[in-house]
């Protein structure tokens, strides 16, 4: 019963967002971005609801959701650490920072900590090439990292 009411609530929220975009199919990406923001990821249920409301097949929604790296189809940590893997950051010492983050969090890139707090990912260029290595934690930018500094920053979010 409890699950059902939660699902009803989510279904309602999906309708509200889809309505905001006038049920337009071409707004699918914006709709998914908003839902991804509010739930942290796009569950199968959410994707099915979106498909239903836009009169699309679920596969079509899924194909869009999996194409873009900022949309998640699996639950992610509360804080997503995205370390820039661009060559300028590599030249500035990205690999040592990556190792420090792996050690600190006990997970590899692409994984989420068991307490659901952190996800560790690589990202493409975040435009901080002259200040590398750089990373994003959710929407905050950190740069000129070294292994120690990166660990200190992550500790602040613990």
């Amino acid at each position: 019963m409890k699950l059902e009411s939660r699902n009803n609530q989510i279904a309602q929220e999906v309708i509200e967002i889809v309505e905001k975009y006038n049920f337009q199919r071409e707004k699918l990406l914006q709709i998914l971005e908003e839902l991804n923001d509010s739930y942290g990821y796009l569950s199968e249920f959410v994707m099915k609801e979106v498909a239903k409301n836009l009169q699309l097949t679920t596969t079509e929604v899924y194909s869009v959701a999996t194409f873009y790296s900022f949309l998640n189809t699996r639950p992610k940590g509360k804080y997503i650490i995205r370390l820039c893997k661009t060559i300028s950051c590599v030249l500035a010492g990205k690999n040592a920072v990556a190792n420090a983050l792996r050690n600190e969090l006990g997970i590899d890139f692409g994984e989420t900590t068991s307490d659901g707090k952190f996800s560790l990912e690589f990202t493409n260029c975040i435009g901080m090439c002259n200040q590398g290595p750089a990373m994003l934690i959710n929407n905050d930018v950190y740069y000129h990292l070294d292994p120690e500094k990166a660990v200190e920053i992550v500790e602040k979010y613990q």
């Binding site: 869009v64 661009t86 493409n124 260029c125 435009g127 002259n130």
Partner: protein
Amino acid sequence: MKQALNNMFDDIYKPLDEPCAGKIVICTGTGCVASGSLKVLQAFTEEIRKAGFDVAQTLPEAKESTRPDSTVRLSKSGCQGFCQMGPLVTVLPENILYTKVKPEDVAEIVTETLLNKRVIERLLYKDPVTKEPCQGQNEIVFYKRQSRFVLKMCGELDPESIDEYIERGGYDAAKKAYSDMTPEQICKMILESGLRGRGGGGFPTGRKWELTRIQPGDKKYVICNGDEGDPGAFMDRSVMEGNPHSVIEGIMIAARAVGADEAYIYVRMEYPLAVKRLRKAVEAAESKGVLGKNVLGSGRQLICHVMEGAGAFVCGEETALISSIEGKRGMPSPKPPFPAQKGLNGKPTVINNVETLATIPLIVNLGVEKFRKIGNEKSPGTKTFALSGHVANTGLIEVPLGITLREIIYDIGGGVTDKHGTITNDGFKIVQIGGPSGGCLTEQHLELSLDFDSLREIGAMIGSGGLVLMNKNTCMVSVAHYFMQFTQNESCGKCVLCREGTKQMLYLLEDIMNGQATAQTLELLEQLARVVQKGSLCGLGKTAPNPVLSTLRYFRDEYEAHVFGKRCPAGQCKALLVPEIDPEKCKGCTLCARKCPVEAITGERGKPHTIDPEKCIKCGACAAACKFLAVTGV
């Protein structure tokens, strides 16, 4: 050149009329914000008030001030390009530039500089070579040799204030386009100006517009491509963050020229600040009647949307970007039909890069003749470049097209650095230009004129303008591998040759780096590179092999050393290194032996140690611990 450019600029953009006792400009580009410039701004507000002055945060506040002599104008600005020295604070009218300012320094700046007109030497930038302190931008080599034109207002204006942009003469070009010029005239003007797309290909912008203009139909679109994904490129980010209104003005003129009534600005999600500032700018423009149902009172409509991408590099390709705006997977489609004929929602669409659009208002204001005086004959105008990697001064620069690589690296960039950041005289190896689609420029290209055509002749391209400099200790195979990995990851999967071909090329490169390559590997790699170039649909696949081919062309010996000699000349490919301790340098402190997790290091205290290559796992712990840099090959 620079002076002429400044004069031209001053002819069209007036200075702000602010009756204040002084002005402090704090850079709030992403770089400076991340190093704490907002805290510095807060500290300034408090300290200035403490000193008995009023603070005017906005232009109207400054104008309405009842006691202008006791008011200090405190302004934010967009990225000034010299992010490595941030937060940057400029004190006007003296034009003193303070670098790496911390909130603790603010009280001193207020009392010393603002009140007593004294310069605080310790906060000035010091020339890395002469060690002399430099007072303002005019004295700093990094700025002195640049010609800031498109970026000029980025470091001066408050990017979140439409009032400042308008007061300086912003949107005058749009007014001219909407009231005094016909679409044909605008297209002709841009064509004659010789402006070429700043996003990569260098296609004449005027021709693109004309092609869209002559299409029948009343529904047309303008798209601003802000999906700047090239590794090592951040010019568009700075323009969107630092002067969003110039981008909007460019879009308006494009819309007028082709007859569009709807526009999209597509920005990467990796640039949160740019998205925020653009949204704010569009809202402000709508409320001022600059955008909306009645653009500048002309009776024409222009609705402008800001849309976020979601982390797919291939969306920078125009047809893929259109698919993405339509809410589909961002996959490219074959051309023709070109977007000019059949673009967004099947309607004629013009897509331009951010920097191209930001240049448009300058051309309309200046006129063709004056604009063509900048740059060279075939490539007029300026170009912004993002300088990063092993170079003393990194950051965002703007130079006239046709400048030589030497000027950029050694004058503006201050020279090549080694891995400790020290300037070396003979360290230069390559500059990777244009990201994964570009190629490398070597010592023999130092005198080459940087413009669209001369780069194309040698098989490289300006691309979006990322310049990643690498020193002698960089392994070219690893660099090619890096870019291959990038394009392989970002391939959308539509074409077999791009999807599978890049993967196989990556495996071949890995074989070379791991010492498993044979004489056939290089041959196969080159063959495959040509096939991928020919058999892919869009720019991503067509240009994916470029980094491999261009490093092979100039550094074949380095590839051969990997393949036949099983060694990496730059000492970077781990699998090919033999761990060693230099007996000359080793002092026998035993630190490395204690750090080694697999007990591969042996030796007596006070005597040179040795590593057993069989046991060593090349974790690098010993090299990191050694104070005498005696350990190599791990």
